[in-house]
Amino acid sequence: MRIPDEERALAEAARAGDQDAFAGLVRTHQRRAYLVARAIVTVHEDAEDAVQEGFVRAYQALDRFDSSQSFGAWVNRIVANAALDIARRRKVRTTEQLSDALQSPFRDPAVDAELGRRLAQALAKLPERARSVIVLHDVEGFTHAEIGEMLGIPGGTARSDLHHARQKLRGLLKDLRD
């Protein structure tokens, strides 16, 4: 993967202590990092905490960042680790809480409200890792290997989790079929 020159320059400047350059990297990558974190922890507030924690850890570890690699992929792995730490610490949430967490009060008019409600309910019923894998792969477009690295599992396990998650999701939504 070719790393954009601007990103490489920002990463090198940030490593040299330029905080404005690091702010530029945050601006570029925080949205994707948020989606990665949210796919793991589901709840918005936890995802925000994971993103903040992840970027702070990344800043502290900049001397170990290889600027020939993608900063986004690197920071996403760190944010995913922070999200996994939060997921391990937090109390278990009920299916209703998770379903509520996935239903934004501000709906996009283009989104089918009934489908959204049913998908949120179905996703909330999936096991935690299966939910993360299906969102990261099918929605965010990460590869099995990338998901494996982020979640600390082999790529093959991510692939098999994805297969089972899809089957289960379809089972939960089968009454929506024509």
Binding site: Q19, L35, H44, E48, Q52, Q60, Q103, V111, L119, D138
Partner: protein, 146 residues
């Protein structure tokens, strides 16, 4: 019968069993921050400010893997101090016990049978006792010394 969901633009058209495009749109919307689209830019700018505020506050404090060791080093130093004090106390007690034993042995050595033997020999020779009597006296005196 197909197990796939039948949404208008479902992914089966592409030969994949991933979520359909309409499902992806819905799921993606569910995983976005719960904010109105109009205020999205302000939300992300705010999150960036909070991140950078934490980076300025915490970022420069710890800058290497060894920083992870700092809290453990404090605990280790405290534990080492306690162990050092305990070892000193034990050593002091051992030295005191050794001194007591040395004093005891010096007392016992000064009352050794050889010393008594040499002192009662003139007595035995003076009174010209039989050897058996001298042995009995030595035995008696030695036993008293202990």
């Amino acid at each position: 019968m197909s197990e796939e969901l039948k949404f208008p633009d479902r992914a089966s058209k592409t030969g994949s069993d991933s979520l359909s495009e309409s499902e992806k749109v819905v799921v993606r919307a569910a995983y976005l921050p719960p904010i109105e689209a109009a205020s999205a830019d302000a939300y992300w700018a705010g999150l960036e400010r909070r991140i950078m505020s934490r980076v300025r506050a915490e970022g420069a404090v710890e800058s290497g893997w060894w920083a992870e060791l700092v809290p453990w080093a404090r605990i280790g130093l405290a534990a080492a101090g306690v162990m050092f004090a305990a070892a000193g106390l034990i050593n002091q007690q051992i030295v005191a016990a050794d001194k007591n034993i040395a004093s005891y042995e010096s007392v016992v050595d000064s009352a050794a049978p050889e010393a008594l033997l040499s002192s009662d020999e003139p007595f035995a020779s003076q009174y010209g006792s039989a050897e058996d009597d001298a042995t009995a006296v030595r035995f008696f005196l030695t036993s008293q010394g202990r």
